[in-house]
């Protein structure tokens, strides 16, 4: 039953290129990118119990490095992607050392502060980042000589990477290491007494989440062909966190659903209502009240309840 659901969902992801218009295909691409980003944040929030409010750092820094290397210094996309991902991973390793000195609210505040530093730099270091104007005129890569300029081609590209990301992150959380991670989330003291090194387990996860955040950042800059400091802002981090929590943290599908919801609200509602944030807040409130664990766990409980009644 569960597999039928997964197959249906995946099947529906294959459809847009065949009959949807460019607007919807682009929207679908954006949703997939947001989903990768939310999934990577979920490794921290849902599986590691580390609520970060600075995850946009990884998206933004990967995007900026790639933008600068390709746009200003004439690097090829392959080399630029490699360098920006390595840079992002190295940054995650440093940030992890700082942020993991605390847990809970302290951890949240440190991640927030670090991301604010980067956001400030992107704004003020205008000789490098071009400040509030952002960096425009970027190009998309052409892997194996295939141009990604058309919405359909780009959608396929993002879909392949998103699938890869989902499979690899699912493998990660269900592995023996993933079990250690969940154990450290639930009973850190016990886990240490059993021979696990909680700090190292959290740090490795922090870096891994940073890596996928960086991948989302690359796709983000490829899609928009433009980067602005707002991609590093707290709003950007908070929207992703909102998606993770609304969709259901600690589940695989939840963050993707939550990210889609946030993006759809942003795109659709903002066309009609200026204060779309207000509506987002209301929707979030509704979810928290009706399905405190998130949309995906909420619906699966509902389905299980209905099935139980049918029997």
């Amino acid at each position: 039953m569960r597999w039928i659901g997964v197959a249906l969902l995946f099947g529906s992801l294959l459809l847009p290129p065949f009959f949807a218009g460019d607007f919807y295909i682009n929207l679908a691409s954006q949703i997939l990118i947001a989903a990768i980003f939310a999934l990577s944040l979920n490794l921290l929030v849902g599986y590691g119990g580390m609520t970060s409010l600075g995850h946009a750092s990884y998206l933004g820094v990967a995007a900026y490095i790639s933008a600068l290397l390709t746009g200003r210094y004439g690097f090829g996309h392959g080399a630029a992607a490699l360098i920006s991902l390595s840079g992002t991973v190295a940054m995650a390793a440093c940030f992890g050392v700082i942020a993991l000195r605390a847990s809970g609210l302290g951890f949240l505040m440190i991640t927030l502060a670090l991301s604010q530093v980067l956001w400030g730099l992107a704004y003020r270091m205008s000789n490098v980042t071009n400040g509030d104007n952002g960096i425009a005129g970027l190009t998309r890569p052409a892997p194996f000589g295939i141009s990604l300029e058309s919405p359909i081609a780009f959608y396929w590209f993002v879909l392949i990477i998103a699938t890869l990301a989902l499979v690899l992150m699912a493998t990660f959380v269900s592995s023996a290491f993933g079990s250690s991670l969940k154990g450290v989330r639930d009973q850190p003291r016990r886990m240490a007494a059993l021979g696990f090194n909680p700090w190292l387990i959290r740090w490795i996860t922090f870096i891994y989440a940073g890596f996928w955040g960086g991948v989302a950042g690359l796709l983000y800059v490829y899609y928009h062909k433009y980067i602005h400091p707002s991609s590093l802002s707290t709003t950007s981090s908070a929207e992703a966190l909102l998606g993770v929590i609304a969709g259901g943290s600690g589940t695989l599908g939840g963050p993707a659903v939550g990210a889609a919801l946030v993006l759809l609200l942003k795109n659709y509602v903002s066309a009609y209502v200026e204060r779309w944030n207000m509506l987002l807040g209301l929707v979030f409130l509704f979810i928290v009240l009706v399905m405190p664990a998130g949309i995906v766990p909420g619906i699966s409980r509902l389905v299980a309840g209905l099935r139980g009644k049918a029997r």
Binding site: S175, F177, Q187, R189, A192
Partner: protein
Amino acid sequence: MTTSSTQRALEVIGLKKAFGGMVVTQDVSLKIHPGERRLIIGPNGAGKTTLFNQISGDLRPNSGMIRLFGSDITYLPPYRRAHLGLSRTYQIITLFADDTLEHNVSLGLLGLRPSRWQMWRPMSYYRDLAREARRTLDSVGLLHLADHPISDIAYGEKRRVELAVALAQKPRVLLLDEPLAGLSNTERSTVKALIASIPCDTTVIMIEHDMDTALNLAETVTLLNYGRVIVDGKRDAVIADERTREVYLGA
């Protein structure tokens, strides 16, 4: 010096710990032989659990030394001590509530294996892990519940899982913090029998309030009060001691 200290499973030398102005461990020294069954008693607030927390590494002492089979572990993090053969249980149930009994015990086994760093194979790939976990659950009489989550089972059964997680690690030194706390009489005798059946090459140090039960299990007794060792020695000698009556048994 080296030969005499390697004969001890656990040695605590002049341990001191204070929280601000409150001294909770005052110059505590213990020498425990391999295979010994040691009972630690004392009134509430005597510093028994604090002593355990320092031995297991959750708390750092202000001064003094802790040796496990001769090697200094005073400042090692808890997980390193686990790899040296130290295992413990908790006074308050500290289990993974949403996971099955089998998974709980498996985590105990995984903690000492290099495969805990495995990032692409699920735990179920390691068949011997599940087999070993089930064998341990069988030894505490809970095999029939192996696939139930912890949140499904009764308190007395959780106490036994708590023990199983530690026993699965085949520790050389096992610290039991009130393993009988809150159990009914029947459950008490079950857990008592379980503790009695712990292999004799495992050194067992136990905090327990239920004197009758605990004294049956222990050969040697240490009485703590206000963070100090008051009496220390063979069971009968400690029970007969004037000071024990004064502090604990109520004069």
